[in-house]
Amino acid sequence: MILADVLTIAGKDLSVIRHRRSIMAALVLFPLLVGLGLPLVLVFAGRGKGGVPADVLPTLLTSFQFFFVTGAATLPTAIAAYSFVGEKIERSLEPLLATPVSDIDVLLGKALAAVVPSVVSMWVGMTVFMTVADVESHGKLDYWFFPNATAGISMLLLVPLVALVSAEVSVLVSARSTDVRSAQQLGTLVVIPFAALYVASEIGAITLDPGPMLALAAGLVVVAVALFFAARAVFNREEILTRWT
């Protein structure tokens, strides 16, 4: 792997992504809307009855912060679909593959371009959310709920890992997709297990304590490694030039 090549490809993809309004809107609006919207639930829920009870707040806030993990599964799909299927449609992969850059560097560069903005976007959203939620909940809890270990694991481990898994799934989907929209739709299926975890935590079926969160992170590392090898098998010159039609 040559880092300079990876960064050059990622930089090019990022500059192309900058021109895609729908993606830029998603990257900017999603974290702001969710970051500000979720704390509003605290304001309006149970209004007139004293608001959300203090003993429910920790579970609710923990579930809410996990929403950003779910979001991290969505955004890379949108970017990667443009990055891979878009190039496939524009036939711009062949000139890229004709350079001395290795297949793995192309794959990593494109994955990086899908993962980094998504992670940054989710981090911004989480920071906004935690700040507003702390302000809202401090009066009832008498302590600052965020930051805490669970949120730290979400931000630093789960969000990047989920974004990486999402980008890898997109590579696999892109190999068989012929248009960006269908690639995006298929890729977003990766969000289902995380959305299920979110709902389960909301209804109290599971507890998002640091232990289970770390176990989830470990599982995601295994999945990410397996998907990396699968993506690498699909994303090679021979395969792209002779079968990605």
Binding site: E90, R91, E94, A98, T99, P100, V101, T242
Partner: protein, 307 residues
């Protein structure tokens, strides 16, 4: 220099390129002619180190493209123009060449210098900051050619470089090919445009999975044209003149006014023989012309022989 020996590529049961052996010298422009699906693009991709070979060997600029450890270095020395321009629509010409220059490990100064030289040479300098998506088809193709040449490659592989281009754009591309030849670069051009192959290629190879013929356009034309057409103008055409011509082997004799058009089998009677015989028979000859057979005729003959 390019050397292939028994180069073969199969896709499942289909043999796309079959046992192709040829040698292309430095400073030579070699044209690969052939119908769709003849294996031209596959051949270029193998020479560029983009796809593997099933059997045989290919050496490009001294490197064995069939050796995976050398494929990367081959790609560094080769410039490829694919059939589709494949540009990034949002990137300008300058950004496009800068991006590819980085991937070829060119310094910032050489990227900048090379970009200016190429864009000026290809008539794109005025549009250098416009997104590629706003360029006309001809300008896009020129930009794609600049991209293939940005790292000053020793070997240039071009797949249909002038397909669907207007005459002006095609002329610019042809001039660049001749510049490359003058610089001693080896150029392989896949083309359907036979008149173009005739204009710029030192030699051409006719491919239909197998390499059917290789030669200069002139040699192929002569070797493969079984008959040639001669037009004779007389002051007055008499029946006896036609008998004289037929007696010398003329076929398909057509008279239009005082003009006789006929076909002669190659390597038999010459036009001089015909004129001498006509004069001896009392005819007054006012003009003689031999119609030039085209490379296209030779190409169609070669492909037709195998049909």
């Amino acid at each position: 220099m390019i050397l292939t020996d028994g180069l073969t590529r199969r896709f499942g049961a289909t043999v796309a390129v079959d046992d192709v052996s040829l040698e292309i010298a430095d400073g030579e422009i070699f044209g690969l002619l052939g119908p769709n699906g003849a294996g031209k693009t596959t051949t270029l991709r193998m020479l560029a180190g983009l796809i593997g070979v099933s059997s045989g060997r290919a050496v490009v600029a001294g490197l064995d493209v069939t050796d995976p450890s050398q494929a990367r270095e081959v790609r560094r020395l080769v410039g490829v123009l694919p059939e589709e321009a494949g540009l990034y629509g949002d990137l300008s010409a300058v950004r496009t060449l800068d991006f590819f220059g980085r991937l070829y490990r060119m310094s910032a100064s050489s990227r900048s210098e090379r970009t200016e030289v190429l864009l000026t040479r290809l008539g794109l300098w005025e549009r250098r900051d416009d997104p590629a998506s706003t360029l006309s088809k001809g300008l896009k193709q020129r930009l794609a050619l600049a991209r293939a040449l940005v790292h000053d490659p020793q070997v240039v592989l071009l797949d249909e470089p002038t397909a669907n281009l207007d005459p002006e754009a095609a002329a610019v591309v042809r001039d660049v090919l001749l510049d490359l030849k003058a610089q001693g670069r080896t150029v392989v051009v896949n083309t359907h445009r036979l008149e173009e192959a005739e204009r710029v290629c030192d030699r051409v190879g006719i491919l239909r999975s197998r390499l059917l013929r290789v030669g200069t356009p002139h040699d192929l034309r002569i070797a493969m044209t079984q008959t040639h057409t001669i037009v004779i103008d007389l002051e007055k055409v008499r029946d006896s003149d036609l008998d004289v011509l037929r007696g010398l082997g003329a076929e398909a004799v057509v008279v239009t006014g005082n003009r006789i058009e006929l076909a002669l089998a190659s390597g038999t009677t010459t036009s001089a023989d015909l004129v001498a015989a006509l004069v001896a028979a009392g005819a007054r000859v006012s003009g003689v012309a031999a119609a030039q057979e085209s490379l296209e005729d030779a190409y169609l003959t070669i492909l037709g022989d195998l049909a």
